[in-house]
Symmetry: C2
Subunit: 256 residues, 2 copies
Amino acid sequence: MIVTVTNPPASELPVLRKVVRSSTSDLIADQLRNAIYNGSLEPGQSINEVRTAELLEVSRPSLREALQRLISEGVMTHAPGRGVHVKKMRVTDIDDVYAVREAIESQAIKLIIRRERATARITRALRELERAIEDNAARTIGDADLSFHHALVACSGSARLTDLMKVSMVHTRLLSLSDRRGYEVRCDVLDSHRELAEAVTAGRESQSLGVLARIMAEAASRLHGPDAGVDAQVVKALDDGAAADDQWSRLRERAQ
Amino acid sequence: MIVTVTNPPASELPVLRKVVRSSTSDLIADQLRNAIYNGSLEPGQSINEVRTAELLEVSRPSLREALQRLISEGVMTHAPGRGVHVKKMRVTDIDDVYAVREAIESQAIKLIIRRERATARITRALRELERAIEDNAARTIGDADLSFHHALVACSGSARLTDLMKVSMVHTRLLSLSDRRGYEVRCDVLDSHRELAEAVTAGRESQSLGVLARIMAEAASRLHGPDAGVDAQVVKALDDGAAADDQWSRLRERAQ
DNA sequence: TCATATAACTTTGTCTGACAGTGTGACATT
DNA sequence: AATGTCACACTGTCAGACAAAGTTATATGA
């Protein structure tokens, strides 16, 4: 069989991947989203368009495009005439966010089990969680916790569910950050998550769903808890005080 | 107790609602989304920024903001250097969209039953569906079908699930519109939906979830069906040929 | 002194115009 | 037939502008 050398079919060059070029507004949205996720931008904080655009060295239109993105993700809110603010979660948001997460993750579990998908990522994420708990830093544990749930959904192989999970992660983080008690974690995270990982890996559907429901309910009730008040005005920073990204600490100051 | 007359607390004037002022980009996004939903804008069609902006009598930046919105909703896609196109669903999208819908609607059902929420809207939507089936117009039936599922989720009272359902509706519509056979509906929609409505209203959780799963699976398999090919290049218009909005038929022509 | 009204300032919302970079199609060339 | 070249169209991004809306500060009157 003769194969021409010039212009070989894609299958012959499996090394080459589709080139990904992100637009400016994509990059801006990513930065802002990360800044929110890691606490550099606090809930309720307003985004000054000119200053932020200057800081990022982009034009105002590009920034505004990115903001639209974040607004439709529910990560920022738009107050007409008053601009864009980082979404500040209220008490009513707690159950709502966790309802969505239970929807996404339950479905992911069903898909994983029914389609018998590989669960290596989940066990790997569980090990990361174990390690984070040893370090005993709330922020690290929180990250590992969310990563675990992301891994769970990613295993399902559903692109859309995985995307939804990504924004739900930010929502969850915003819930904690909007809580006046700041960032907290339950001490029994590891047990329940290990149980979940094992049940999913073993293909025990109803048990998995049960454990998941329990995890969600407990997380929600922790936020609801006595004198919780996600509604609070004052917002505490993350308790391990990990140095926030330089750029964004600057932004936080300058953006008033 | 003395209450000042000026600036009365909101609770005293329950008639007054928060004024909603939509931004231009909001309105544009709505128009484009509707145009996609009712088939005026076909899957794969590209959006010429200058022409579309002229047509809507808005500036290019405002249009671009709206497009960002739609892109992040997964209703349009962005090809770098080549602009924005109406999302063209592929075979792999079928199961993905229905997986998300099952996730959302299952959770909605659970919430409705556990929180014992009113189900009037569902029965009302069912009656609309009955009426639409009598008319025997595929497009009307499709609308009523989706409205039913939207009503179901809205009943749950979860704002986020309801929002997600709204975009899932457009995704579902895009699935049908991307199918070369055009718009079709199963003849047994009514039976299954009536069964679902009754089960939910009666609070029978597992039965409801079962019926829902069946509805989703059947809808997906219809699209997968023999010689289906959502991947198809040619796209048939809606079969009842309801006159598409004047403005948008113009756009379709002019936007190439 | 407190509350309201006026003024000054800031910021948003939107538009116009501009221009380099990239994609596209026609045409010439090898 | 494949490649190279050119012109054109469109996108991606920016700077600047300005009215409208919000915000803060100042002045005025009870």
